[in-house]
């Protein structure tokens, strides 16, 4: 589904992402882990065609993110961190706008289907500015999956949410993955979430990919570790101590 080869992004002298080589399988829930400023958001921005790589390449379903960016945009759904949406518009009006931009044929039918899936139908005609953060995040996910993308990119989807909101989002993502077979690529630094939802993980630090494995393999390789947190710190700490 997603393959990157030596994907690199430089800002003048600063290398935000350094030769990223990554493969995400079809139908996987991939957790991209790293500390703040590790290069997660920059990687995600390149994969969602928002910024151009300095060198290297990335393909989604065989389409190059630079050369075939329109086809790539058609395949992906994206939820950035802390999205606010248009506060003065209702949930439906927001979704109609984004649905039309994605050229969804029967927008209203898709909106009803998606809101039903997210158990959000009673809030459809309320203005987004009246929503809590958790509700806004749900509408954010709704706009990202409105055109039924093959791959869903999420940047810290549960950041700042209360435990109930976090659980709700987690269940929604599992549902999308199970019912539609959507591949999910999730930036996060919440290790507890990764263990509960992800099938595969990648760890990035200072722009370099340290590891990319299935969660089960990783646990197998670090048999002595009691938790993912321990695994994470032994990988990241090992590199930082070198």
């Amino acid at each position: 589904m997603l393959v990157t080869k030596d994907l690199t992004k430089k800002y003048q002298d600063f290398t935000a992402v350094d030769k990223l080589n990554l493969t995400v399988k079809d139908g996987a829930i991939f957790g991209f882990l790293g500390h703040n400023g590790a290069g997660k958001t920059t990687s995600l921005s390149m994969l969602t065609t928002l910024i151009l790589p300095t060198s290297g390449s990335a393909t989604i379903d065989g389409f190059d993110v630079v050369k075939d960016n329109l086809q790539v945009r058609n395949l992906l759904g994206y939820l950035p961190e802390n999205v606010m949406l248009y506060g003065d518009l209702t949930a439906r009006e927001n979704l109609q706008f984004f649905g039309k931009l994605s050229k969804v044929k029967d927008v209203n039918k898709n909106i009803d289907e998606v809101l039903n899936m997210l158990n959000f139908t009673e809030w459809t005609d309320k203005k987004v500015k009246t929503f809590s953060k958790g509700m806004r995040q749900r509408i954010g996910i709704a706009q990202a999956i409105l055109h039924k993308p093959k791959i869903l990119f999420l940047d810290e989807p549960t950041s700042g949410l209360d435990p109930q909101g976090t659980k709700d989002i987690r269940n929604i993502l599992l549902k999308i993955n199970a019912e539609w077979g959507t591949t999910i690529f999730m930036n996060t630094h919440l290790l507890s979430e990764v263990t509960k939802i992800c099938t595969d993980i990648g760890i990035i630090s200072h722009g370099k990919l340290l590891v990319s494995e299935s969660l089960s393999n990783l646990k197998e390789n670090f048999k002595d570790a009691k938790s993912l947190e321990e695994i994470y710190f032994s990988i990241e700490g090992g590199v930082n101590n070198e």
Binding site: Y11, L50, R73, L76, Y78, V83, M84, D88, F97
Partner: protein, 322 residues
């Protein structure tokens, strides 16, 4: 529906929900209606007074009558030039600024640009959507003016007058477009939306009030009420001879005025409306060709600012700097 049309449609519906925009629009329309109705009424009073005089002379058995006063029905739009200079510019600036700032505040730019729309299409959609709004506003005001002049003043209005009036409103549209694009450009350039609006307003004050005021103050002919040269009993040729001695001074003064789109708008507007004497015998298109520098002065800055906004927006791929 193409993505650009979706953006255009959203810009228009958003503006119609923007309270500040609606308040300024309401004031502009109200002032336009009041000024045009009063102007048209004044023309009607002059016309009625002339007709009464003719009837009176006829009743006295006179056969020769004084010539009809030079009634200019277009002059009823004179105040509109000032309202557009003030409120029209303000309206366009608010539209331009809000159009970009709302995306920054709602964090929606990334969502939009991850869809099947490119940065240039998105920016074009915003500019075109707001230009359609400004065009609709000037078109409605031109119809109000035309109807008021015809119905209230009862003054004869020729097809040439109608063309002049519509061209005048076209110039008003171009003038407002300049401030729209200025608002968009500065909002794209400056990360803080409020700061961008403040700087837009400061630039508006400079080019709309300060520069024309400097030009007027430096104008030798403005040093005495009624004109310095005419009070000295000098004709046009003599005046020119005097001015030839102050070529550098005059070029500087004119250069300062040329920097102001407001002055260009005023010059071409007053010529089209026959408020400035000397253009009565010209057709509307002849007036535009005589005043081409002013038309260019309205068009060129908008095109340059549009291109600059393009360059800044298309180049801005740094995700931390929407």
């Amino acid at each position: 529906m193409s993505p650009m049309l979706v953006v255009i449609k959203k810009e228009i519906t958003d503006a119609l929900k923007n309270k500040l925009f609606l308040i300024i629009l309401g004031m502009l329309l109200l002032l336009t209606i009041v000024s045009v109705v009063l102007g048209s009424y004044q023309v009607k009073v002059s016309l009625d007074s002339y007709n009464q005089s003719i009837s009176f002379l006829k009743s006295l058995g006179k056969t020769t009558f004084p010539a009809a006063p030079n009634l200019n029905p277009l002059s009823s739009s004179k105040s509109f030039v000032n309202y557009i200079g003030l409120l029209g510019a303000l309206l366009a600036m608010v539209l331009g600024n809000a159009s970009v700032v709302k995306e920054k505040r709602s964090g929606t730019l990334k969502l939009i640009l991850s869809r099947q729309i490119f940065r240039d299409t998105f920016l074009n959609g915003k500019v075109i959507g707001n230009m359609i709004l400004l065009f609709a506003i000037t078109f409605v005001t031109s119809i109000i003016t035309l109807v008021s002049v015809v119905v209230i003043s009862s003054a004869p209005i020729s097809s040439g007058d109608i063309v002049r009036m519509f061209l005048f409103f076209l110039m008003s549209f171009l003038y407002m477009t300049f401030f729209l694009v200025l608002g968009i450009f500065l909002a794209v350039l400056i990360p803080n939306g409020n700061k961008a609006l403040l700087i837009t307003v400061i630039i508006w004050l400079v080019i709309s009030f300060i520069l024309p005021q400097i030009g007027d103050t430096m104008d030798m002919d403005n040093q005495l009420p009624g004109g310095f040269f005419s009070s000295m009993g000098m004709n046009k040729a003599d005046t020119q001879k005097v001015l030839d001695h102050f070529k550098f001074y005059e070029t500087t003064r004119d250069g300062i005025e040329q920097m102001s789109p407001t002055k260009h708008y005023e010059r071409v507007g007053f010529a089209l409306l026959n408020i400035k004497p000397g253009f009565e015998q010209n057709t509307a298109l002849e007036v535009l060709s005589i005043k081409w520098i002013d038309v260019l002065g309205l068009l060129a800055p908008s095109i340059i600012l549009w291109l600059l906004a393009y360059m800044v927006f298309l180049k801005r791929e740094n995700i931390y700097q929407e």
